[in-house]
Amino acid sequence: MAISDELRSDSGTVPGGDGDAPAGSMRPRRSRRRGRWHTSIGALPFLVYVALFLLVPAVSVVATAFKNGNGQFTMANFDEAVHGVYLQSFIASIKLSFASALIAAVVGLLAALAVSATENRIVRSLVAAGSGVFANTGGVPLAFSFIATVGNFGVVTKLLSSAGFDLYSHGFSLYSVMGLTIVYQYFLIPLMILIMIPPIQALRKEWIDASASLGANRFQFWRWVGIPLLTPPILAAFIVLFTDAFAAYATAEALTSGTIPLVPIQLGSLISGNVLAGQTNLGDALGAGMIVVVLVAALLYAYVQRKASKWLR
């Protein structure tokens, strides 16, 4: 009993080995002997590992972006990155991510509402497990299964054309930004469903009953209760979807063989060695630009999330 109490008080009041711990007698022998410095050493390997294999590469990209081929400071890389074809690719990437995230947010929200309102347990579990699986699906296999479906010689393309409707003569192409927007839905919609089910379920029954007993109709409930409550989580989810689409590389590369000018694709082709003279560190500037876009999204997310948690606690 005594030992357990001591341990509890130790870990409860001495996070990170703060010096303001209760007197030594309250602390277990082990940590007194080793001192406060050792209290945090056990977590060090993990932090060092992440720093080495994630932060070092990221920082080196940002640092290199400010250098020219001779290692001198320059802004020329950024200048290049925000003009001409590279500016276009940033715009195209942001447009694609925005459109994909918007569609997925709307469809995913409707599906999350539908599944939350369903009493059928099998349907609910199926949607939950299915969403978990599909949200983790992506990359190359996804691209090929869409090629098999609505590609030039896809099964659905052929079915439609034998029914007298030629997809590709009506402005559709899978190997385009529009095609990518559709393919991305395959992992974005389930992600939206996963993110939205908890806040929808958290719409408290009391609020709904209260609004009903005050005589609210369906429209009024959604106008004054439902939508205001769900707006922060929807915004947060939208940002997650946007980031997801913005960073996606594999699907776009496999589907279009790198012909679509998106930032990750451009960066990938610079890495693979398609570097023009005088653009030594242009890729690093593009990479830094990507980090900036994602960081802005992450900050917005943190802001919205703070608002959301205020409501849903």
Partner: protein, 287 residues
Amino acid sequence: MATVTPDLQRAGGGGSNVLRLGKPFRYSVLTLVGAFFIIPILASARFSFLGNNNSFTFSAYTQLFGTPQFWSTLWLSVKVGVGTVALTLALLIPTVIFVHVRLPRLRRLFESVSLLPLVIPSVVVTLGVITSFRNLPNIIYGTPVILALEYVVLALPYSYRTFDSAVQSIDLKTLVDAGQSLGAGWIKLLRFAILPNLRSGLLGASILTFAFCLGEFAVASLLSFTTFPVFLVQVGRLEASQAVALSLIALIFTWIPLALVMIVFSQRRGGRRGAGVEAAIESAVAE
């Protein structure tokens, strides 16, 4: 991020009258969305069995299995996956347990660290790896070892949270107290008390990490390692039906373990905190 996700199965929160959504709405939405997800799978299956003149054939599959590169790239991906899982567990087990026992107030902070890979797109990480590790010994930089080393970090958003929520769900304090009062050291504690209670968490983290490794394309292809997904893209440029067949195999083999993880985690504790949900939410950059 919603950390407490109410159980899907619980009736209370979401009966039909509560959300005021009619049956026609519910079923038409779910049917349409369901169709969007099922049609590409059916179409892929049909496409991969399509021979000349619409005949039915296994040739895409038999040709694939006869390609030595199919087996060698798959084997490479499996090796990288196993290495990544081993490294991940070696890193996560001590860290997460240590954080829970000694630094419980920093739990959130460590969770945020594990989410950092979501802020740095993997294409950018790859570029950084090239610029900063170019000069490392060839055994690290020039071999797939670098892939495993990077995948540990890139899969953290899945693995860390899965394992962390598993540790959170057991009464670690009591286990540690009981073990220590019986005189067990940390090795014995881990071996006989803690890890056996974390089996599903370990399994979940391992499966998610392994699935990530088998599917990862960006880093491998940009560092010029022909892993399974890279091979898949090469096949796709020549033989569409083989690539589709291969994709179908790849999808099914990732879906089965992922589905297992989802089921195991949604049943444990009534799905109070679906690790699958958490992990999936973080699927971001991973693709």
